[in-house]
């Protein structure tokens, strides 16, 4: 039963342009960054046009109005993920959010922190953003990084979870949905194992929060991050959610104005969360833009969005299975699978696949997708990846499928 979201595409001005070869745009790279509806672009512009001022700092009307919009954006994000307002920190990106958590947990002044010999657990399918900060934290503190692996069809391998998540484990950092395989991970199962040994759980929701409904309490995690730009929002805005009592136990990671309780030349003390994690004049217009994106998403309904993407994924997987020489990298079935489909074309390097598709107006991502260890393990140099959002439709899938046939003929793939 497919949902008709075709009416929404016209809200996205980018589809009015033509791309290479005079073609209309088939944008299948939302996994990297999403397109923006007019309402988001306008929300950001209107902030500048009507209420622009430094938040939390002035006694004047503009500052009041700017502060109010900024805090309303925070509440809106909180509602979107089932959290309390004061648990939502605005950063510039999911990458910053993860680094902030890693720095805070690496600071011995934090009431909760990682020590030498502690274990940090990740998975072998993490995006670099949810891997390198933990490698560095391990390096700084003397902690040990270990990881859960994945099965041949791109699902998390939990067969040895008891050996990986042990009483030494203090932190488990995992992705909600793989940005290569499209697999949705069984977070509750993993967080249950983590909680059983008293470990904290950090969830990378970059590929989930923009596509289906999530609730931090149900997920039973301690921290959650995502990026505004993948959720129809502006660039330059990220979310760091943490349980309030945990945020209160952590030292901040970025220091400056508007995050202090008191300052002398010798030292400083911090205000409460979330303020203490937001040093400096914040990315105010971007927070307000993200809030408009959340309004746009929730107005359509996250369940409708995920159904829509589910249908597209089904159609693409079926179509790809009919093309010889094409191999899907990730689950072939639709169970616990989001709208991200990676594949290879035998005999053609992904970069060349992408280039030919681009000639026909089809924008995909090619390469290792910032998941290099995953690629190494699969002995692949990279994949071609198609990923969806609400503006995609069945016609896009048809154009992609016929594009792949053109790739094969261009590179004279005999199979």
């Amino acid at each position: 039963m497919s949902i008709d979201l075709s009416g929404y595409k016209k809200d996205f001005p980018i589809f009015e342009r033509k791309v290479r070869g005079g073609n209309s745009l088939v944008y299948l790279d939302s996994g990297a960054t999403s397109q923006k509806p007019d309402s988001v672009i306008e929300a950001e512009s209107n902030f500048y046009r009507t209420i622009n001022a430094a938040v939390h700092r002035g006694a004047h009307l503009l500052a009041e109005e700017a502060s109010e919009s900024y805090e309303a954006a925070r509440s809106n994000v909180a509602k979107f993920i089932g959290a309390h307002d004061n648990e939502v920190v605005f950063t510039k990106s999911a990458t910053e959010s993860l680094n902030v958590i890693a720095y805070a947990l690496g600071n011995p002044q934090s009431e909760v922190h990682i020590k030498s010999g502690d274990h940090i657990v990740v998975t072998e399918m993490e995006h670099h953003a949810n891997l390198i900060p933990w490698q560095q934290l391990a390096k700084r503190t003397g902690a040990i990084l270990s990881w859960l692996s994945f099965t041949e069809d791109g699902r998390i391998d939990l067969s040895n979870i008891d050996e990986i998540i042990t009483t030494k484990t203090k932190l488990v950092a995992i992705t909600h949905q793989s940005n290569v395989f499209g697999t949705i991970l069984p977070i509750q199962e993993i967080s249950k194992a983590a909680k059983a040994v008293g470990a904290l759980v950090v969830l990378d929701a970059c590929q989930s929060a923009p596509h289906f409904s999530i609730d931090v309490k149900e997920l039973n995690v301690d921290f959650l991050v995502f990026s505004g730009h993948k959720a129809l929002g502006p660039t330059g805005i990220g979310i760091l959610w943490g349980k309030y009592e945990l945020l209160e136990k952590l030292e901040p990671a970025i220091f400056g104005g508007s995050m202090v309780d008191s300052v002398t030349m010798q030292g400083a003390t911090w205000s409460s969360a979330p303020r203490k994690f937001e040093a400096g004049v914040p990315n105010m217009a971007q927070a307000v833009g993200l809030s408009a994106a959340i309004d746009y998403l929730t107005n359509i309904g996250m369940d409708n969005i995920s159904s829509h993407e589910h249908e597209l994924t089904k159609k693409l997987l079926a179509g790809l299975s009919g093309i010889s020489g094409v191999k899907v990298i990730g689950p072939l079935d639709l169970k616990d699978r989001g709208g991200v489909v990676s594949f290879t074309v035998e005999g053609v390097h992904p970069h060349d696949v992408g280039q030919v598709l681009d000639q026909y107006g089809i924008a995909v991502r090619t390469g290792h997708h910032c998941a290099w260890p995953l690629m190494r393990k699969l002995k692949l140099v990279g994949t071609t990846r198609a990923s969806f959002h609400i503006y995609n439709d069945a016609h896009d899938i048809d154009r992609l499928l016929s594009g792949i046939e053109k790739v094969k003929s261009y590179f004279k793939v005999s199979k």
Partner: protein
Amino acid sequence: MELDSLYQEVILDHYRTPHHKGLTSESDIQVHHNNPSCGDEVTLNLSMRDGKIVDISWDGVGCSISIASASVMSDLLIGKSYDQANVILQAFVELMQSKGKSTGDEVLLEDGVAFAGVSKFPARIKCALLGWMAFKDAAAQVME
């Protein structure tokens, strides 16, 4: 003028001649609170006996709103029981959050209702609450 709803005469009077300002030497507890966004500070001494507020004295630097509010707060709470004080505190906090829609309970808040207009100026609510929050913190510590 809109401004007059913020700066009621009662407030300006308390600002010019604040009550219970100047720390007395005896107290069960001393707390120090500040408002980091504008630098205002208050130090508050609290004496309680048998669950009753015997004395409040305070000192600090701040704007008219924060000084006047600390003055009104001490007037109101000295002599009250801890429970009564909490009822008054709660009423004042609610008035501050009312966005100009409440005029306040004059029986409970007395001079405190003069602060109703502050609730329309979000940046000033923290000023009005500074002394009250210091009291709340101090009393909670004594009652522990």
